[in-house]
């Protein structure tokens, strides 16, 4: 076994272990943290495949942004675990059947029959000056430029739709308008009055 395969098996073991822990640990926050660990170790495996751009993007997008928001939400939820666990034994047989069907389906679609080594060949080791970032950019903006742009447009539509759905005018809330705050002049708030000074009343008058 070469050093590379030792490193691979270490990362793979952590990945499988943490992915299993995501669905088995009781505490939801721990589950999210295990998911973060799973993303991180799969990024490490991608780096071993010389796909450093994808690996770093995985860490940046999923670990750095998506999972932070996930954690944010899960921490604020007050989840009572007891009702969630009710009927676990009752539905277990159905669950096992569904899981088995899904497993067989996935094995049929992404198994070795379609994605095996004999279809794609063993990985090629590139020289030190090989840049995964550059290769990916070249393909993405030439061969796949239309799918890429269409995907971007669909995402933009989704963003606008999400904002449009959640945005509503609520006149009763007292928003602060920073533009109006900045434009305030002294004259709007303070009125200067000219008046003669008062005389001090003399005693006994």
């Amino acid at each position: 076994m070469s050093i590379e395969s030792i490193i691979f098996y270490v990362f793979a073991a952590i990945l499988v272990g943490s992915a299993g822990a995501v669905i088995t640990v009781r505490n939801p926050v721990h589950a999210v943290l295990f998911l973060v660990l799973a993303f991180f170790t799969s990024a490490a495996l991608w780096i071993m495949l010389e796909a450093e751009f994808l690996a770093i993007t995985l860490v940046l997008v999923y670990v750095g942004a998506v999972m932070v928001l996930f954690l944010f939400v899960v921490m604020m939820l007050d989840i009572n675990l007891v009702p969630l666990r009710e009927g676990f034994m009752r539905f277990l047989p159905v669950g096992i059947v569904v899981a088995l069907i899904m497993f067989v389906e996935m094995a049929m679609v992404v198994g070795a029959k379609h994605f095996g080594v004999d279809h794609y060949g063993a990985g090629i080791k590139h020289a030190a000056d090989y840049s995964n970032t550059k290769e990916l950019g070249n393909v993405l903006y030439t061969v796949y430029v239309y799918p890429f742009e269409i995907a971007a447009a669909i995402l933009l539509v989704a963003i606008i739709a999400a904002i449009a759905l959640t945005m509503r005018r609520r006149p009763q809330t007292k928003y602060q308008d920073p533009a109006a705050q900045v434009l305030v002049k002294r004259g709007d708030r303070v009125r200067m009055i000219k008046m003669a000074s008062e005389r001090k009343n003399t005693a006994g008058e």
Binding site: M1, E52, F53, V59, V68
Partner: protein
């Protein structure tokens, strides 16, 4: 099996060399962090017409050592009902990305631990990970104030990361590379060739976002002492607290050196292209220029802290989302057009 052993034996000198390089980077960073705390207290002291620490050692120069010893000897208190494992691991999660990001930082031409092509992306990914230390510490402490601080900090870091990322997209557009050494070399010419000029709005957005990302004043609502005591690290003491402190200052130095590398020419001499001064200062090694520029940006951090009042939380969010992100998007279009038009003297 024997072949593997032989190849692994051949790799040992290489590994030792890398380890020595890591030590050569990490030890100066730790010393800089220690003396940055002293500099902060001294600078703010003088700005407020005080002297600052001056009792330990000559002119207070041994103060950081004394502070370190004190923190090392203090008891670590774990609050009741705190999640012990996460409570202890949180400071480590805060410090590790702050140090790991230094792997791709070039200190001079060729003086870099890992000269990778996706350098800027790597730094962005690792700085975005440092938020986990803060969130986990706030949650694991089982304390209201710590939790509020963690939520504030998480929202703030995630928001400013977007503006920062867009600013860095501008840099890689202008330099045509994500490799930090290439970014510096693309700025060659003179002080006017540096990217601070063509990317001025992005430079300002980057640096202000950097201040916000490190949770420093005036964006330090995550630990606003007048509202939530000390925020996410309120329950930490001794060395666990010291690790958060180290992480914050290591991140500050990282933001400062990145500003120097990406916008202010890195190790290039500021006298480049000036007839008389350029040969006069040609003997100065590039490392000195990098460190001088970094120190200037660090001074700005301290200056901000002594000058500005703390931002209100909704104003922080407004600044990040409604001011910075539109500015960066508009300027990305400008930079893209300038690169396309080969606008001189920067992009020809």
């Amino acid at each position: 099996m024997i072949e593997t052993l032989e190849t692994s034996l051949e790799m040992i000198p290489e590994v030792i060399l890398i380890l020595i390089k890591i030590v050569l980077i990490v030890v100066p960073i730790m010393l800089s962090v220690a003396y940055l705390t002293l500099a902060e207290r001294k600078v703010i002291g003088y700005i407020q017409v005080r002297i600052g620490p001056n009792r330990v050692g000559p002119r207070g120069l041994l103060q950081p050592i004394a502070d370190g010893l004190k923190l090392l000897l203090k008891e670590i208190i774990v609050p009741t009902n705190a999640n012990r494992f996460l409570f202890v691991i949180a400071p480590i999660l805060a410090l590790a990305p702050a140090l790991a990001a230094w792997a791709v930082v070039p200190f001079s031409d060729g003086m870099v631990l890992a000269d990778i092509d996706a350098g800027i992306l790597y730094i962005l990914a690792l700085t975005s990970m440092s938020v986990y230390g803060i969130i986990i510490s706030g949650w694991a402490s089982n304390s209201k104030y710590a939790f509020l601080g963690a939520l504030r900090s998480a929202a703030q870091v995630v928001s400013y990361e977007i503006a920062m990322g867009f600013a860095l997209v501008g840099v890689l557009l202008a330099a045509g590379s994500m490799n930090l050494s290439q970014v510096v070399l693309a700025q060659q010419g003179s002080i006017l060739h540096w990217f601070w000029l063509p990317l001025l709005p992005l430079f300002l957005v980057y640096f202000i976002s950097g201040v916000a990302e490190t949770n420093r004043a005036p964006f330090d609502v995550a630990e606003g002492e007048s509202e939530i005591v000390a925020g996410f690290h309120v329950e930490y003491s001794g060395m666990t607290f010291a690790l958060f402190f180290l992480a914050e200052y290591a991140n500050m130095i990282l933001v400062a050196i990145l500003a120097a590398l990406m916008f202010c020419g890195g190790w290039l001499s500021p006298f480049q292209g000036i007839p008389l001064l350029e040969p006069l200062f040609a003997w100065v090694p590039g490392l000195v220029w990098v460190l001088a520029k970094t120190s200037f940006f660090l001074f700005l951090f301290l200056w901000f802290r002594a000058t500005f009042p703390r931002y209100r939380y909704d104003q922080i969010m407004r600044l990040g989302w409604k001011v910075f992100i539109p500015i960066t998007i508009v300027w990305l279009l400008v930079v893209g057009a300038a690169v396309l038009a080969n606008l001189g003297p920067w992009f020809d």
